[in-house]
Amino acid sequence: MSTLTQSSAPASTPIVKPAAQIRSWKIPITFGSFAVLSLFLFVVLGRGLRGELSTFRLSEGRDLIQLPEVALPTFATGVFVAVVLVLMAAASAWLVYRHTKIPIVLTILFALLFLVGFLAWAASGSTIPVPGLLIGTVTLSAPLIFGALGGVLSERAGVVNVAIEGQLLAGAFSSAVVASATGNPYLGLLAAMVAGALVSMVLAAFVLKYLVDQVIVGVVLNVLVIGLTSFLYSQVLAPSANLNSPDVFPRLNVPFLSEIPIIGPVLFRQTIIVYVMYVAIALVYFGLFRTKWGLRVRAVGEHPQAADTVGINVNRTRFIAVTLGGVISGFGGAYFTLGAVGAFNKEMTNGMGFIALAAVIFGQWHPIKATLAALLFGFATNLQNVLGIIGSPVPSEFMLMLPYVVTIFAVAGFVGRSRAPAADGKPYIK
């Protein structure tokens, strides 16, 4: 048997079969629904808007480079968009029928076009300040993005993080108190990170040491943090106002970059919290996908036994990842007090942690995609503000509803079969 007669065995090649003939109609159905919706909104309801103009303002008054305003005829734009959307829906159906993959570009185009049509319809007879809309989007998304990044880190390591809400709230509370007490908002940021870390360490301890169901601990921690911060607020902060009046970070303009049309004001006239956010997104992405540490974190979240057998301490790796996630989420909590309001209020995070959780899942546990999902939610929230100011033809509630409806469609239509880290939510017992 010493002569090596190695042939490349038939079984060592993958069992490759010709691509099978299954059609998934999810995307055409989703497209079709939106096409019908736009026909109804822009054409049927939009008939009354004939002769109106929808104006998009692309620059702010203080910009160096002034872009002209774009004025579109509301009804014509609506009809055009609706027709194109119908055509695109038909095209997607045809592609599916022909077993061709629907290019992602088509989906993106479809979404953008729908958005333009929607904005044009909503802004009939008035002006939409595009930079303002987008600046607010980035600002309002900041806590969501921090929360989502924290969630991504934790879940990639295999620990479901439902406690994002608690981490945000703890961060908001402690940053307000510490920044007020010391007069130094940077110490407030530090305190926010510590508070977020503490919450996630409790999560990690219960989950990893006592093997308590991860969702249960997360839910309960949220309630605990809500209770604690509300109690301390009523008992300690409310009576002595000097503990709850931190300085708010000002907006800082980045030289040159902030003068780029549209992008400049949106991305580079923000507070330090948002600038840290850019860094955090890059770091989490780099850390998870480009470093040794990230490889181990993902291994522990996908196949903890495999990690264990190569000498990786599963629970320690998980603990560190969850704690780091808490640091990031906690930092995001500081946005509420030091980035926006300037004081802590009871339950001021108002369910944002759960939206961040939705962004994690919607974003398929990927830091960049989760960030995009969080931006979508931020956009939705800000759209309400903008449309509330300029007034719009439909009840504002339906505008407000739309992003959530879109999310449901998206989750049902596109990411329904998204894959969580394989060991997410499961304790590792040898």
Partner: protein
């Protein structure tokens, strides 16, 4: 000889004689869940006491001269804690200062009033847990149910009795539809129920807000406030013990709901299928159970039960008309209630009453002693946290571990996703 490998662990306990059984029983009590629950409640109250003491001004003052007169501090701590907890007790169960029994017992009826929607929503969330789903959509389901029941109650004219029943049915249907959407989407497309329920909360909120400011829908005629008119007297839950107490017949619907869920889960075949899917969806599918339908039915029933909480709010507790805050956070409280009750119907019933007592007593405590009601939330969270981690409580109180000799349970890491099961 060949079977020796398998006989070792089996058959041991069945041959247990009387004395061994007694010892086992004792072990189960001290190490088991009843004892854990009691200790968890006690420990949570102790932590609450520490928080109350630390934030008390008088305690802080006396701590300043602790070494000169330590008894002052101890007295201050005692006053703060005992004052708060006795107010809590008197506000939730029995008021010793009342002149007669009928007044003294009033707090207990308040407790039951607060418990009513908590139990209903807790049952809904708990049922979903048993089917392996996490229903965070309590808020939306309550709002839709409240809107439907409320509209029937103030806008439709029907004879007394029938009017109430129709209003309840409308509310249940509203909750069932709002929950059923989630089940349907999960079954048909594999959409994650956590996202869908959260999103539907917002959709319901804005929908109700829109209806509340739309004349002819839910808005009270002639008013500009986003609020409904008062419910018609024919559609309101009657008081159980007369106008002196707030407790209304809605409590009976919740008792009925508890019995129904108990029957559903442990006596009906639909509940059997629910539990099978909750424990192991792939085995359930192989056994011919239609997993998709189970998700749909379970979420519809769960939504209806949560909806019952909304119905109780508008037809029982706040009958003078409601706004979009009518859910009062009960949809989220229900999650902790379900967890504390371990998703079992009577456990949820008891947990709901405990949390109802905390709520009723908390208001009394805040009024009498100035201790913010939020402390109650802290205590509730701690209770659930400790109950969820029996090993922690055992370690703290050095209790024996039940079934120590059992081989460690090895859980294989499942790579198969539940979504995949659904998708098939």
């Amino acid at each position: 000889m060949s079977a020796t490998t398998t006989t070792a662990p089996a058959g041991r306990d069945s041959r247990m004689d009387g004395s061994e059984r007694w010892i086992q029983t004792l072990r189960d009590i001290t190490g088991g869940s009843a004892m854990i629950s009691v200790l968890a409640v006690l420990f949570a109250l102790v932590v609450g006491a520490i928080l109350i003491a630390f934030t008390n001004e008088r305690v802080q003052e006396t701590a300043g001269y602790f070494f000169s007169r330590p008894t002052d501090l101890l007295r201050a701590v005692w006053d703060a804690v005992a004052g708060a907890y006795s107010a809590l007790f008197q506000g939730s169960i029995y008021n010793f200062r009342a002149t007669n029994f009928l007044t003294a017992i009033r707090p207990l009826t308040e407790t039951l009033t607060f418990a009513t929607p908590l139990i209903a929503a807790g049952l809904g969330v708990g049922l979903a847990f048993r089917v392996g789903m996490f229903n965070i959509g309590g808020r939306g389901q309550m709002l839709i149910a409240a809107g439907a029941a409320g509209w029937v109650a103030f806008a439709v004219e029907l004879p007394a009795g029938i009017h109430l029943i129709v209003a309840i049915l409308a509310g249940l249907l509203g909750g069932a539809i709002w929950g059923g959407i989630v089940g349907l989407l999960k079954a048909r497309t594999g959409a994650h129920e956590v996202i869908v329920t959260i999103m539907l909360n917002f959709v319901a909120l804005y929908l109700i807000q829109f209806l509340l400011r739309t004349p002819g829908a839910l808005q009270a005629p002639g008013s500009n406030n986003p609020k409904t008119p008062a419910m018609a007297a024919t559609a309101v839950f009657p008081d159980l013990f007369g106008p002196r107490y707030n407790l209304h017949a809605g409590f009976l619907t919740v008792v009925a709901a508890t019995i129904f869920v108990w029957w559903l889960l442990s006596r009906s075949n639909l509940g059997f299928q629910f539990r099978a899917v909750g424990q192991n969806p792939s085995a359930a599918r192989v056994a011919g159970i239609n997993v998709k339908n189970v998700y749909l039915y379970a979420m519809a029933i769960s939504g209806a039960l949560v909806g019952l909480a909304g119905i109780n709010q508008v037809l029982g507790t706040v009958t003078t008309g409601f706004g979009s805050g009518i859910d009062a956070g009960i949809g989220f409280d229900a999650i902790t209630v379900a967890l504390l009750g371990r998703s079992k119907p009577w456990g949820i019933f008891a947990a709901g009453i405990l949390f109802g007592a905390f709520k009723a007593g908390g208001f009394a405590m805040q009024a009498a002693e100035g201790v913010p009601i939020d402390i109650v939330v802290v205590v509730q969270a701690l209770i659930v946290l400790f109950i969820a981690a029996p090993p922690l409580v055992r370690a703290m109180f050095h209790l024996p571990t039940p079934g120590t000799s059992r081989k460690p349970k090895i859980r294989a890491v499942k790579t198969r996703q539940t979504n995949e099961v659904v998708a098939k």
